[in-house]
Symmetry: D2
Subunit: 346 residues, 4 copies
């Protein structure tokens, strides 16, 4: 089996060895199933240290599940969910919100995947008009699908705007650790303290095998969720093997160390590659995603050895992602190869 | 963390050490995600050795997902699925078939969770009648939810009956390994050779962490399934950690060794406990589930140390299950404690 | 166009001339649409006279819509609805409750389509068990699909039993007028006074063109229903043409006169046909449905001129239904022809 | 009951007297129900004269039902439907396509509610990409929700573009008669001849009480639709009362006469009102919808006597609609009152 030289996605990395070790350690004989085991119960407590004592945490196996189940738990089929047009829920879940929640998504045009109250406001007409889906949730992604960050103040403004209009705020945090690392804040600072209502918490991309969670922060929402999770085929029987990952992930700052590494490697790659003639890094690099222009012919050469995506074929924009498992050596080797490829086609 | 003395469910066991080792071994750096990695591709090939070259295999994380997605892929919302009233899809999936597939289940009364053509026939009226859901699938569970086995001939009869009426046959094989071990036949003998159309293949209860699969044997069904799986929140990104389990599970007869152990331990428990005055083993023990009558007061004593279910409170029937991880020592200790408890209350 | 000699269903009748006249009269120029017109608003008031001032009434065009939307409005997808196995929602709506509500129906065996607390109780286990759909509604049909009546006391007992267990009671009243006529009670007596939570109110079978309603009696349920009705494709734009029917239907005892006629004609048919040698009327005739045994060969002769159903082919049970439009002459002619047919084949 | 002076919607009109007469005439005793009556069967034949012999016609009671059921019948939940952002299915059906079809709508920005191949093309990426909903249908509205017309050539271009990419074309024809009248072509010319795959055919806005239809023109689509319609609560029992409307609507050019009247009255209103100082008619008036700017204070005065909508509050755009029932006198009276109101506030 050949290791892939991948800058395609943080999903291509494996699991952090200490998380894997925690999974192995969890394999100690018979335990209750379906989340009633001691590991899962303890992990809940660990999460509450990070998200506050009123948080309710439910483990699932995919980020799509976290998004869809969380949003579904707080909407009727006659509600709509406002999101940026780039949102994962809008583009990358094969219609799951619509199919399983009957949810109407209202995609709002955005340059960088971010929303502001001013961008949301025009989509809030028709409240009380029986022919129109009724807005219920604003869903934001932090960092966005194109790698940009909301400041805490920007999130706070959205929450205030939303709550003034009886809307809930969902934060898709598939890469929330990268965001917290970049903004140098805690999960609590970014969510509970800002009155965010519910969070999709991602661990998989940052070192877990498969470990995600729906976290309800608003105590008045999410009733009946355990039934919904079971019904949604997401109640794994040997739950300890999921919770043990997250328990370890949250211990000893592992989540932070991993996220910092991913972010630092992205910065290193952007700085070094950006210095190459013929390579243009687009925008600032907020977390662990880099968007760049390089000559299409150079892409062709590089993709013989490296795995990454051409994000936009029309503009020939490429996306490079780093992960907790990306090392300085990998970056430097990649930079050298980019340089060679670009020079070869100049 | 205390190991549980559990005879409640094969779900309470952990993972087989060699399967855990395979997961650890799969953690070797960057690989493509979403099932395009080499481990997943190879595991597909392994499955084809067991189910025939035309089988199409799709990994999911729960048995509920395998059942619901498989059946949903072959039904319209105006179809019905005929099953025994005891079926897992009818009782233990919190309405998932209805909620996510819009599927109408038609539960058929049965003593042991088994169906026969004669039992199904009365429920096939109204074909072509626009007011009635149109029968499309017969779903059988092997072994059944109450631990009983269909003979191969009985399955064959159902398939023939179903196919004559344009119905498909789904086999819920959450414990298919136990069934094959008990009947001393291969997966192929039990499914492909009998023209079963689709199978829910379970690995979790018999030694995996979480490893299940939807297997389409009929080449004409299941089109579009990859989209459906993604949409159903079951396409895990680091798929290698699921497929690696199943790859190892199918190697070196591990599935068979595990299943035989579970079955043998059930037989040992039934034989020894059945010999105790005041304990009555109900029916024969086909696989790894035992149903028994013991004095309610004895149950109370036993449940201080042991974890198991009172299956039917009216008749005070208890269910004891064994797993691949159940040892002779555990059984013998349990039998001794049953004896003590029953004697204490006589 | 030949008038059909039909004893097949009360659906085969047309509309009562005075109801048709009301529809014609409603056609008086421009009015607000979607139920905001004066006719619809007034009809709401009329309904409140019959069902109490707290009743909320929503018009729909089919009985299936009334059943499905009413039940859906009070259930989550993880709830179940308990009903008799003969229930219209279970057999005659092509899976609509499952497809549009994700509702799990739990059909309970019954001889006559009626339920009792004792019959419901065994199906109420697993409350709080995350793997099982959670019971939420008991749905009863009055009169039942096989023409039998609950007494008011029997309904009261079910309501009390249900409410004690946090269950709601839905009454499928597609033929509620026939039931009230037979029991000589008002709609209020049969529903509001007994604390029934919601009602499917049928007008179509008893003289309307298409006029049904969902009526919420319990003030705490059914929030958001207007959105649900619109979304369910049941908010007709020129609503006045539906409400005008029901307004007239409820005026001057027309509903009662029609229902009495249907019931009386059924009694007349049962009495006269039952007196024929070779014809056996099954059970008592509570409303306007008659189930009978006649020689199969006689059925063949009769069906050349008459339209009616063989209800059960195995026992050769035929169903004859009368409607508001059935006259004494029609009955007597039919009886005479039954006599001839039966004699011809003796 | 006061007749409303309405220029708000063609839904505010009543039914054409001759259509009402046809409904009355259909009330002639017992007929088979659920569309098996002679009137419904004959109406099918009438429709085939207009849409070609291979057309399959299914009556429903609302335009939302026609759109949702038609599209649902040809899509999987993992498909997407491309439409203009103004589309009725996107804005005015309270999320019905998502809730009942699990359909993902992809709204495409448009100035006038029209689409072109060039506008659709950028939304067709990700074919075969398992994370993305797969495009299946292009839905166009003729005339659009803002009153504009596609030429036949423009429809043809969209169909050709769509079929080249394995997409189907759905035409939302809630006002198709107005479009045909304006373009002086037949239904056949606008749909069947251009290879449109399916049509939502509207009769209600142009003179029916409630009469809409789903028409499949492509013989390879729509299998199982009768079950779907029943399940969708749209199979009315006394179907003759729906089909009789449409039978009459299509006879003696009534549909055309009505549509021409509506269109002519819109033109008259636009011409006369447009000549008033302070009134600006926006764009050309293609059918029976007029968008105009008048002083907000004039709107206030007018709305004391007239019913119409402020379409866009930011720009103070008003919408005036005419119908088959709008007369020259009504228009002239309205124009005079507009003049007075505008002058009063100048």
């Amino acid at each position: 089996m050949n290791d892939l030289k991948s800058f395609a996605s943080d999903n291509n990395s494996g699991a952090h060895p200490e998380i894997m070790e925690a999974v192995v350690k969890a394999n100690t004989g018979h335990l209750k199933s379906y989340g009633e085991d001691e590991i899962s119960i303890h992990t809940d407590e660990v999460f509450k240290e990070f998200f506050g004592s009123r948080a309710r945490i439910h483990y699932v196996t995919t980020g799509t599940a976290a998004n869809v189940l969380g949003i579904r738990a707080v909407t009727h089929t006659y509600n709509s969910v406002l999101c940026a047009e780039q949102a994962h829920i809008n583009n990358d879940e094969c219609g799951a919100p619509e199919a399983f929640g009957g949810i109407k998504l209202v995609p709002i045009p955005s340059k960088d995947g971010k929303l502001t109250p001013g961008m949301i406001a025009p989509y809030l007409g028709h409240v009380g008009f029986v022919h129109a889906s009724q807005p219920k949730v604003v869903s934001i992604t932090q960092p966005t699908e194109v790698g940009k960050l909301y400041t805490l103040k920007e999130i706070e403004d959205i929450v205030e705007f939303a709550h003034d209009r009886d809307l809930l705020v969902h934060l898709d945090g598939a890469r929330i650790a990268n965001a917290c690392a970049a903004l140098d804040c805690s999960f609590f600072d970014m969510t509970t303290a800002l009155d965010v209502d519910l969070v999709s918490f991602g661990g998989t991309k940052n070192g877990c095998l498969m470990g995600e969670a729906v976290i309800f922060l608003n105590p008045e929402i999410g009733e009946g969720f355990p039934y919904l999770r079971k019904q949604s085929m997401q109640l794994v029987s040997k739950m300890r093997f999921v919770s043990a990952q997250l328990e370890r992930y949250l211990a000893d700052d592992l989540w932070l160390i991993n996220a910092r590494q991913a972010n630092a490697m992205a910065k290193r790659l952007a700085d070094k590659a950006g210095a190459i003639d013929g390579v243009e890094i687009l925008d600032t690099v907020d977390c662990n995603a880099i968007f760049a222009h390089i000559p299409p012919a150079a892409t062709e050469i590089l993709q013989k050895d490296y795995y990454f995506y051409v994000w936009d074929e029309h503009t020939h924009t490429v996306r490079w992602m780093t992960s907790w498992a990306t090392t300085e050596e990998m970056v430097d080797e990649f930079v050298a190869d980019i340089k060679k490829a670009v020079e070869a086609v100049s």
